[in-house]
């Protein structure tokens, strides 16, 4: 499922329902590859729901129903015959709260690889090291790889989760408010990391921090009450938004 299409995620007429309640309305969006796309909007506007629908995390929620399509690398991810495990390997996710497994730092990153059937020790070590280096964590943990991951600080744990995601060499990384539980220094580190990672990955990030969206994203999507109000280059959204609602939100007039 490697692909080189310029717009590698195409969302068409996406509707999502939790039981009888509709959470997303007719979303149309083309997410460019190797760019950072920020999803912004007030709480409950559907941005996290939308993010989770990109790697079918919503499948785990009972009574969640979807129509419309999300095409990733030319394939409808909600189509029959889609291998969800394979999809989630290519479309990784990092959550709001760091959630390392209660095992060693090394095993956290190696876990996904082992699940994939990688048994060769040298290959495991090589891949784990590369993922930790790429997640800008290696220098801080190289002497304590066998220690429990829960002994790391919050910011380190979050970078470990990013390392865990990129160890599987995904194509897309979804991030749901990855810095909202972190202090400013740890936040800055993650932001720098995102800037580095976009060379190799397509990143979609939910954030409540407008300045963060401005700093790290190339494109910004503004969601409101389940609708995609506006999607444009970040510089345009934060200088000349087309919709009054967008302007009101980014300037803090509501939300």
């Amino acid at each position: 499922m490697n692909c080189s299409i310029e717009k590698n995620i195409i969302v068409e007429n996406l509707n999502l329902y939790y039981g009888t309640k509709q959470a997303l309305f007719n979303i149309d969006m083309e997410i460019p590859r190797n760019k950072v796309t920020a999803l912004i909007g007030p709480s409950g506007c559907g941005k996290s729901t939308f993010l989770r629908s990109i790697n079918r995390m919503n499948d785990l929620i009972p009574k969640c129903r979807i129509d419309g399509s999300i095409t990733y690398c030319g394939e409808n991810i909600y189509g029959q015959g889609m291998d969800v495990i394979d999809l989630r390997r290519k479309v990784g996710m990092v959550f709001q709260k760091p959630n390392p497994f209660p095992m060693s730092i090394f095993e956290n990153v190696a876990y996904g690889l082992r699940c994939q059937g990688v048994k060769d020790k040298i290959e495991l070590q090589k891949t784990v090291k590369k993922a930790l280096v790429d997640a800008a964590l290696y220098d801080e943990v190289k002497d304590r790889l066998k220690e429990n991951a829960l002994s790391l600080s919050g910011g380190q744990q979050q970078r470990l989760c990013i390392a865990r995601a990129i160890a599987l060499s995904p194509d897309v990384i979804l991030m749901d408010e990855p810095t909202s539980a972190l202090d400013p220094i740890a936040t800055a580190k993650i932001e720098d990391l995102i800037n580095e990672l976009k060379k190799d990955y397509t990143i979609i990030i939910v954030t409540h921090n407008m300045q963060q969206a401005l700093r790290i994203s190339d494109f910004t999507a503004f969601f409101l009450m389940g609708e995609l109000m506006e999607f444009d280059e970040t510089s345009k959204i934060f200088s000349h938004p087309k919709h009054q609602k967008t302007e009101d939100y980014i300037t803090g007039r509501f939300g």
Partner: protein, 220 residues
């Protein structure tokens, strides 16, 4: 419910302060010219003192703008508005300096000089004052039409300058004017001409605050 009520109030206050600064500047131009035409040294000295108020306003407004940027992290039209205020106060401050410069001419002049009175000086002053008023008005109303009008009005002031220059040259040729007085008069006319240029600058910053373009260059 209104959000960011304090922020909204701070933006309104900024506009108000700018208008107050503008009012002092306009009245100083008036008094400067009056002191020159009537050779009133006392009025000239008072006007120069009043320029300190203009400088104080510049500092106060500048501080407020920077504090708003720091605390409120403005974006989009809010950021443009605050940036344009920061630029406009520089122009207003310069205009204030020129009003003081005109008053200084009054003080430098010898009382013994014979004034050479022509209506153009007053008309030119009125035209430049109108430009400043219009520029500030266009800012408060965020009115592009008015802002563009200010830019066009500059031609009128420039035309006055050329006319005055012609009249003074003619008067020198016919020995109708003191050479010193002629020089002071031309200096005053030049200051007025510069004042209108600064009014044009203000108009251009108003256009920026509305469109994000300055002299047709997209900035933000």
């Amino acid at each position: 419910m209104t959000y960011r009520a304090k922020f909204e109030q701070e933006l309104e206050d900024l506009k108000l302060e700018l208008i107050k600064m503008g009012d002092i500047v306009i009245s100083n131009i008036n008094d400067g010219l009056k002191s020159f035409l009537s050779m009133d040294i006392t009025l000239a000295e008072m006007t120069i003192k009043k320029d300190k108020m203009v400088n104080d306003y510049e500092k106060t407004i500048e501080k407020k703008c920077l504090q708003i940027i720091l605390k409120e992290q403005p974006v989009a039209k809010d950021l443009r508005l605050i940036t344009s205020v920061l630029k406009m106060i520089t122009d207003l401050e310069r205009i204030g300096d020129h009003a003081a410069d005109i008053s200084k001419m009054t003080i430098f002049m010898q009382k013994s000089l014979k004034p050479y009175v022509i209506p153009h000086m007053k008309l030119m002053t009125e035209a430049s004052q109108k430009m400043i008023k219009k520029a500030l008005d266009s800012f408060v109303k965020q009115d592009l039409g008015l802002a563009n009008a200010v830019i066009n009005d500059d031609d009128e002031v420039d035309a006055y300058f050329e006319e005055i220059k012609g009249i003074v040259a003619e008067a020198i040729r016919h020995n109708e004017i003191d050479a010193d007085y002629a020089l002071y008069m031309m200096m005053v006319a030049k200051y007025l001409e510069r004042i209108s240029d600064h009014a044009v600058n203000i108009g251009e910053w108003v256009i920026f605050s509305v469109l994000g373009e300055h002299n047709h260059n997209v900035i933000f």
